[in-house]
């Protein structure tokens, strides 16, 4: 909580809450001493749409399309958690083939999300060529997702008890082609984000989250794995087909780096996860059992079954941004969901902002705000109020971005 008094000479900088390019309006109140950040107080809720409330007023099958519209990038994540929570509550088992198809889709989404994030990170520190490069190569995985599901953004693949579209053998060459494409390009990505000295200057030792803070604040995903915390739902509590696959925690020390928890480590973890995902998709394609894709294709029967069901269930997943969870409860004789709770990854990572921003500079705000890969990032309007004089100055998104780019230039010229 930020408190200010007349004697206080610090500045308060609210950043947010709206930017048209972002899915979720968001605001962070910064308290600054000169250029240095001394406190950060996040204010979410500008885009609270009451989705849980809406879900509790419609039948469980109608909630599936609603759940995939919670987020534009993790549309698979929320569909998966919601359907598994309902399956758990009603005691319905999806078929094994459906589990494998779900896993393939989840991993494709991870590749998509991490490559997109890399572009955003590059943009925030002033490397727009890298933004265009990463977003260009992201098209390939989006094409593949469209090829499999018929949709580019909201895939509509999930249903309670299975999936709605199969991945037959005829699709395997195209999947393999895409995976090879990323494998060939991966080294270039690593050279850019891990090898380039100017990017290292802007990401090394910035936005540090210690292992202790990461654990206490219940942070999730690459944000905490970069600090050396071994938390990954895919391994800890395998869902879908992950129990059958061979995978390990992606933490920097596995690749000969230190678990520092700075922006550099977070970039490293995300890039290495792209490679891991490629491997996992190959394992799934090879091991996929020959079964039906849906355990109850007749939706009227399924709906009737859900109406009669009584119970509660949870669906947990390792989303690209970290652990996320849905809780659902069904009541016998009631068609609507009795209770639905959604918790996305950024919710838990919100609290990790304060220690990461502490002691950093205004020009580092964009990259640190982006480093947890929030479903936000909106720097549309920022206002600085000087408490001692009462004067105020507004920073637009562009000005703030300019500050960040200038810092990179100064670092390169050696004048900082």
């Amino acid at each position: 909580m930020i408190e200010m008094s007349e004697e206080d000479t610090t500045y308060q900088v609210p950043i947010g809450p709206i930017h048209p390019a972002l899915k979720e309006p968001f605001m962070i109140n910064f308290k600054l001493d000169g250029e240095t950040i001394v406190d950060a107080d996040p204010h979410p809720g500008m885009n609270h749409r009451g989705i849980e409330f809406m879900g509790m007023h419609r039948n469980p099958l109608k909630v599936i399309p609603l759940s995939e519209r919670i987020c534009g990038i993790c549309s698979i994540v929320h569909q998966h958690m919601y359907t598994t929570a309902v399956e758990h509550a009603a005691g319905i088992e999806p078929t094994n083939r459906a589990r494998y198809i779900r896993t393939i889709m989840c991993e494709l989404e991870r590749v998509h999300s991490h490559v997109l994030w890399a572009g955003v990170a590059a943009h925030e520190i002033g490397f727009d060529t890298h933004l265009h490069f990463t977003w260009k190569i992201r098209e390939k995985v989006m094409d593949l997702l469209e090829y499999i599901s018929g949709n580019r953004v909201n895939y509509s693949m999930w249903t309670v008890g299975g999936v709605r579209r199969d991945i037959p053998e005829s699709m395997h060459p195209k999947i393999e082609e895409t995976l090879t494409y990323y494998e060939e390009l991966y080294q270039k990505l690593e050279d850019i984000f891990l090898g380039d000295p100017s990017i290292r200057l802007r990401t090394k030792n910035i936005g540090i989250l210690t292992k202790k803070e990461a654990l206490e604040l219940c942070g999730v995903g690459p944000t905490v794995r970069a600090s050396g915390v071994k938390k990954d739902v895919r391994i800890d509590q395998p869902y879908a087909a992950y129990g059958d696959l061979d995978l390990d925690y992606v933490i920097p020390s596995r690749y000969g780096y230190e678990n520092t928890g700075d922006v550099f480590s977070k970039t490293l973890v995300r890039l290495k996860e792209v490679v891991q995902s490629i491997g996992l998709i190959r394992q799934c394609v090879d091991q996929m059992p020959d079964e039906d894709i849906d355990s109850e294709p007749k939706k009227a029967v399924l709906l009737n079954k859900l109406k009669k069901a009584e119970g509660e269930g949870i669906g947990r997943i390792e989303a690209p941004r970290g652990e996320a969870i849905h809780y659902a409860r069904l009541k016998e004789g009631v068609e609507e969901l009795d209770c639905w709770k959604i918790r996305a990854s950024t919710y838990n990572n919100l609290t990790t902002y304060a220690p990461m921003f502490m002691g950093e500079q205004i020009a580092d705000i964009p990259i640190i705000a982006a480093c947890i890969d929030p479903c936000i990032g909106c720097m549309d309007r920022a206002e600085i109020v000087d408490v001692s004089t009462g004067k105020s100055k507004s920073y637009s998104h562009d000005e703030l971005h300019k500050l960040s780019v200038e810092k990179t230039k100064k670092l390169l010229e050696g004048s900082l």
Binding site: R99, D236, E323, E335, T351
Partner: protein, 194 residues
């Protein structure tokens, strides 16, 4: 605490909690869901605890290692409010993680619960959310401001309540002024008056 070695399987965890919490835990259930071809199990524990002993339970979990709090879900059950704290222990051990879902029942005339932010600092987000969405009072919460709801949202209305503090009328008729004038006719599916 020297003898206890992580990871604990659900049965060992049950024994651990039984020894320390004894009477105050009710309805402890162990659930194992087998998934995939290798039939690896997903392990869960469901339990109910008296609200006076809730903090002690979290302290006992924290003695094992820093518990991961996924979220606290909450709902209006009619006569009482139910909060479910979804903890995870044994993270970092492949396939051994156990979800510990702790249910706490709060009476509607006094929906208070003590904070756990001193044990699990990351709980602050979900505690603030429970205050504004369910009308629960979290005692000693370090920051009791609203988090998601706007300032103009009515003080005594809570979106997840199904009783007179809930949102029934506002939600259904906001889009149509004529309809807003007429009283709601659709029955509350959760046992409103027939």
């Amino acid at each position: 605490m020297k003898d206890i070695k992580l990871p604990l399987n659900p049965e060992e965890l049950e024994e651990y909690l039984d020894e320390r919490m004894g009477e105050s835990i009710d309805d402890l259930e162990i659930e194992e869901i087998k998934k995939g071809i290798k039939q690896r199990a997903m392990k869960l524990i469901w339990l109910t605890v008296e609200r006076e002993d809730f903090r002690d339970l979290v302290k006992e979990l924290a003695k094992l290692h820093q518990p991961h709090l996924s979220v606290a879900s909450g709902s209006d059950m009619g006569d009482f409010i139910e909060l479910i704290y979804h903890f995870a222990v044994n993270y970092g051990y492949p396939g051994e993680e156990v979800s510990v879902n702790v249910k706490v029942h709060l009476p509607k005339d006094d929906p208070t619960i003590s904070t756990i932010t001193d044990i699990v600092p990351g709980a602050i987000t979900t505690e603030r959310e429970k205050q504004e969405f369910l009308g629960v009072t979290v005692e000693d919460i370090p920051d009791s401001r609203r988090l998601w709801l706007d300032e103009v949202f009515p003080e005594d209305k809570y979106p997840w309540r199904w009783d007179d503090k809930g949102m029934e009328e506002q939600s259904r008729y906001v889009h149509d002024e004529d309809e807003a004038a007429t009283p709601p006719t659709k029955k509350n599916p959760r046992g409103g008056d027939d």
